[in-house]
């Protein structure tokens, strides 16, 4: 029913990339990473970006996450041009809309599970009581209440990724960007993470993931294939 809702809305797309190209200058010529990429993502979609190594998947995801820039084209996020945003504005965007999930989890080693999940809320200036409630909720949801006082080094990879996702969700983002979230996990752990993503998507969160695995890609509702920086037309 969610899906129905979204299609009905037909409001502004969440993400619009128009003719986005990115290259590196090499010996006077250009070495392209992305070529004239056009992409629209509607709220509530679950997209998997696929393609061989070096096809530009991660770069595309990084551009969407404003971690990387591009040389040509336009990028509208919720209808607003976000190319050339100042650092402060990018931070604000992260705080309000985007959660990142990394292949290598990227938790802060010196903080406990609880504190890691809490950190985005601190940046959002969420009041203490609400912070506690939200973190407790997330711990509960991912079944890691018992681990809340442990440091990342004391957890298994799967558990770390759960914390990573919990942290990404803490700020209640509209969009989750995940770069090979299961790349460092075994298949059972990987499935668990994918199930969580599916559930999140059901709850209305837009997800874009980069993945190598057809199986994982199947959890999404659209696949974008990249080859040598081009988006392969949908077959």
């Amino acid at each position: 029913m969610n899906e129905l809702n979204q299609t009905d809305q037909k409001s502004t797309p969440m993400i619009q990339l128009q003719n986005v190209s990115k290259w590196y200058p090499v010996n006077g010529s250009r070495s392209f990473v992305l070529r004239k990429v056009n992409l629209e993502v509607q709220p509530g979609e679950f997209i998997s970006i696929m393609g061989p190594s070096g096809s530009g998947k991660s770069t595309l995801l990084n551009i969407i996450g404003l971690l990387d820039g591009f040389n040509e084209g336009a990028y509208l996020f919720q209808g607003k041009d976000v190319a050339g945003l100042k650092e402060k504005q990018i931070s604000a965007l992260y705080k309000q809309h985007i959660g990142f999930v990394f292949q290598a989890y990227h938790l802060i080693d010196e903080l406990t599970v609880y504190e890691n999940i809490e950190t985005p809320l601190l940046y959002k200036d969420v009041k203490s009581a609400e912070r506690k409630a939200r973190v407790a909720d997330l711990l509960d949801r991912f079944n890691i209440v018992g681990k809340k006082d442990l440091f990342p080094a004391q957890l298994s990879g799967g558990q770390q990724q759960l914390v990573g996702i919990a942290r990404a969700l803490a700020g209640q983002p509209d969009l989750i960007l995940a770069d090979e979230p299961t790349g460092n996990l075994n298949s059972r752990q990987g499935e668990e993470i994918m199930e969580i993503f599916r559930q999140l998507n059901h709850d209305g969160v837009t997800i874009i993931q980069v993945t190598h695995s057809e199986k994982n890609a199947a959890y999404g509702n659209r696949i974008i294939e990249l080859l040598d920086g081009w988006v392969k037309p949908v077959s």
Partner: protein, 792 residues
């Protein structure tokens, strides 16, 4: 958020124990040096501030031109007091004539103590805003009165009130205690003053003063004054400049005497005169040490900067993560600054402990009585501000450096290229500062040693001096000499007008054949008894010593080599001279004896026989006897011959050594700070070397399995640091050479700065660096390559 930052900071401190240790120890050492110097500077700057009228009190100086050179002196004529009081009254609130502060024998009944005292005009207590504990502020109004310091009152009368008690000064002047004042603090010019007696009493007690009441050219007194509330020193000095000049006969005007009121705020810090102007003084050292304090603290901050940026990769990931979850760069800057401030805070606690523990030693070395003002609120605020500032200086650069990381790059594990150039520049700065301090310290010591090795012109061993403080001492010469010699306690005894370590009287008016009529004669004049030369062991260069056999020797003079040069004589012996209308004959020339400053040239001096105008007894102990036992027995003889007088003596060599106190204080303090600076710099290099070795573990492993020798690896890892130290030395050498040449200019008798001093310092710096670095590099080079390569 703050809690989150502090948690991270705290956990990082424990996680990286080595670099935390280096950071905290280095910062603590730097902060301790800074705090100590700050306390010292504060003490120096607050000198004499105890007096409420501090801003408006001055002492009269007099400048005169003698043979084209302007000399400045604190002694002024008797007449100047009245002159200022009558002709310039509107400029002053108080004018206080004064004797010289010195040891006097104060007695109450049979109790005699030798204490510091002074004779001053009646307004002195008000001018100096003495804190009267008992009695009256006008305690000097009655001619036969005395004001005691609290400690003196306690020493004589215990807990009993001393008011109206009768006492005698120098066994001669009867006085009544009229007031007790709080002892003057250690950092005042009049510190240690146990009593003040009326100026009028002094005049009546010393017949020679009567003569000076008409002599404008007799400069034997001090004058202190407080200028009017609405006046300022510049204006007053304009007015009074020619106060003396206007009153003196024409033939004396060529000396152009100028009266200048030297403000109290400058007494301690600015009392060096050149060409009739104040040119500086201790303030130079205050500035120098302030600079050293700032530099040493900066050295410690550099360690922090270098280690923080060197270890940046460890924090890079955190920066990246925080940025992706919405942290702005400014909140990251804040976070890193907080970490630095936390570290500085911990270092502060440690540094306060260090300061507290070192202060007793420091006070002894610096001749101070400084304590940490724990209870005063300004201290708390200052120290808080200081910690924040240190944290910001140390953490500022790393904070901006770290927070600027590109999240994408650091999360991929390829942080931006960091060339390490700023780090190298900072290390060079550290070693430059340290090297300058080392060269400076060595030069100060060489200068002291150089001056100490200067021949003094007499023999200081076993030479004792006793001041003839009261009339009781006079007329005892023969008895003392005969008895002490008979008992075999001394080999000789003589008396003289000045102690051996000072010149108390100077004179002019000497004339001789062939004298340049324009030459103003200014001689040190020492009156001695016949065996003076034998007692002190002076070195006769020409002619003969005084002889008891020749009655004509009462009109004989012995002059020093400086006098021969000053007078321009070819053949001084038997040369007739006139002085004060009397005829004298030069009978001998002695090697220059250093009586005043060992840093200055010896003044032209003549010695003459006089058994009346003498103030000191000089004793040459018999060499064969134990000193302590001799002194005990000599004391017994003195007590018997001069009863009721405390026996007090000085050893010439200790008095002479005291002339080096200021230089030695400076030298010791500079050494202490230089050692700490070197320590801090080495700590930093130690940390950096550890980091570099760690970073290159894999490279070392690979080089090792491809056949690199231990020496080659050591070379590889140490080479960079050696280069940096060499660059530092290249900068430090001209810098210190220039600065020290300037410093040495103030000394007439000065040492050279030899080239080998620089070579030695450079070698020393290299050696210390090599030792510091080698500990780390050897450890890395010796590690089993299998281990380091397995990590990959």
């Amino acid at each position: 958020m703050l809690a989150n930052y502090l948690k991270i900071a705290w956990r990082n401190l424990f996680k990286n124990k080595k670099s935390s240790f280096i950071n905290i120890t280095g910062l603590a050492a730097g902060m301790a040096v800074f705090i100590m110097i700050a306390l010292w500077v504060r003490d120096e700057l607050s000198f004499d501030r105890y007096h409420q009228n501090y801003d408006r009190i001055g002492q009269a100086w007099q400048t005169q031109i003698i043979n084209g050179e302007v000399f400045a002196d604190v002694s002024v004529p008797f007449l100047i007091g009245d002159e200022l009081a009558t002709s310039y009254a509107s400029d002053f609130n108080y004018i206080v004539m004064s004797s010289w502060q010195g040891e006097n024998i104060l007695s109450s009944g049979e109790k005699h103590l030798s204490v510091e005292g002074i004779f001053m005009d009646t307004d002195a207590p008000r001018m100096l805003s003495l804190a009267i504990v008992e009695g009256s502020m006008d305690g000097l109004n009655d001619k036969n009165s005395v004001m005691l310091s609290q400690s003196a009152a306690r020493a004589f009368f215990g807990t009993k009130s001393p008011i109206n008690e009768r006492m005698t000064i120098n066994r001669q002047l009867d006085v009544k205690v009229t007031a007790v004042y709080e002892d003057l603090p250690f950092n005042t010019s009049f510190q240690g003053l146990k009593f003040i007696a009326p100026w009028e009493l002094y005049i009546s007690a010393e017949p020679w003063i009567e003569r000076t009441k008409s002599q404008w050219n007799n400069n034997s007194f001090q004058l202190f004054a407080q200028i009017n509330d609405s006046a300022d020193f510049a204006t007053v000095n304009q007015h009074i400049r020619d106060a003396k000049l206007k009153r003196i006969p024409d033939e004396d005007r060529k000396y152009n005497p100028q009266i200048i009121l030297h403000p109290m705020k400058d007494w301690h810090l600015r009392s060096d005169w050149k060409n009739g102007q104040v040119t500086g003084g201790r303030i130079g050292y205050v500035r120098l040490f302030s600079m050293i304090g700032v530099f040493v603290l900066f050295l410690a901050c550099i360690n922090f900067m270098n280690l923080s940026t060197a270890r940046s990769e460890r924090r890079a990931k955190e920066v990246g993560i925080r940025k992706t979850i919405g942290s702005s760069q400014s909140s990251l800057v804040l976070q890193f600054l907080l970490e630095a401030i936390l570290t500085a805070g911990i270092a502060l606690l440690l540094s306060l402990i260090i300061v507290q523990l070192t202060l007793p030693w420091f006070n002894e070395v610096a001749g101070k009585k400084i304590s940490i003002p724990w209870t005063s609120p300004w201290f708390g605020w200052t120290i808080l501000g200081f910690t924040l500032l240190t944290g910001v200086i140390a953490g500022g650069y790393p904070a901006f450096f770290l927070s600027a990381f590109n999240p994408l790059a650091v999360l991929k594990g390829t942080p931006g290229r960091y060339t390490g150039l700023p780090r190298k520049v900072l290390v060079v700065m550290q070693f430059t500062i340290s090297t300058v301090l080392i060269i400076g310290t060595l030069t100060v010591y060489r200068q002291i040693q150089h001056t100490k090795n200067r021949p003094v012109g007499y023999d200081r061993t076993g030479l004792m001096m006793v001041e003839m403080k009261t009339a009781d001492f006079y007329g005892k010469f023969d008895v003392l000499r005969t008895r002490l010699k008979q008992q075999g306690l001394i080999s000789e005894l003589s008396e003289s007008s000045s102690p051996l370590t000072a010149v108390w009287s100077n004179t002019s008016g000497l004339d001789w054949e062939g004298k340049d009529p324009n030459l103003s004669t200014d001689f040190a004049n020492i009156r001695v008894t016949h065996e003076f030369g034998e007692t002190v062991g002076w070195q006769l260069k020409e002619g003969r010593d005084f002889s008891r056999e020749l009655a004509s020797d009462s009109a004989s003079l012995i002059i020093n080599e400086a006098a021969v040069k000053f007078m321009g004589l070819q053949d001084p012996v038997n040369m007739p001279v006139t002085w004060m209308g009397q005829n004298f004959r030069i009978i001998g020339v002695v090697e220059d004896m250093i009586m005043n400053s060992p840093f200055e040239p010896v003044k032209q001096t003549f010695y003459q026989i006089d058994y009346e105008n003498v103030n000191w007894i000089n004793l040459k102990l018999h060499p064969g006897k134990g000193i302590q036992e001799s002194i005990r027995q000599i004391e017994a003889v003195f007590r018997e011959v001069i009863p009721g007088i405390p026996f007090e003596y000085k050893f010439t060599d200790t008095e002479y050594a005291a002339k080096f106190i200021q230089e030695e204080q400076i030298g010791t303090l500079a050494t202490f700070f230089a050692i700490l600076a070197v320590f801090i710099s080495c700590l930093g290099v130690f940390g950096l070397a550890a980091f570099v070795a760690e970073q290159r573990t894999k490279e070392i492993g690979i080089r090792k399995i491809t056949g690199a020798s231990l020496f080659q690896l050591w070379q590889l890892l140490s080479g960079d640091f050696i280069l940096l130290v060499l660059i530092s030395c290249l900068i430090a050498i001209p810098l210190s050479y220039y600065g020290l040449s300037q410093w040495l200019q103030q000394y007439h008798y000065r040492s050279e700065i030899p080239w080998w001093l620089f070579a030695l310092t450079t070698a020393g710096a290299l050696l210390i660096t090599l030792m510091t670095v080698s500990f780390q590099t050897l450890r890395a080079a010796l590690a089993n390559p299998v281990k380091s390569l397995r990590n990959e």
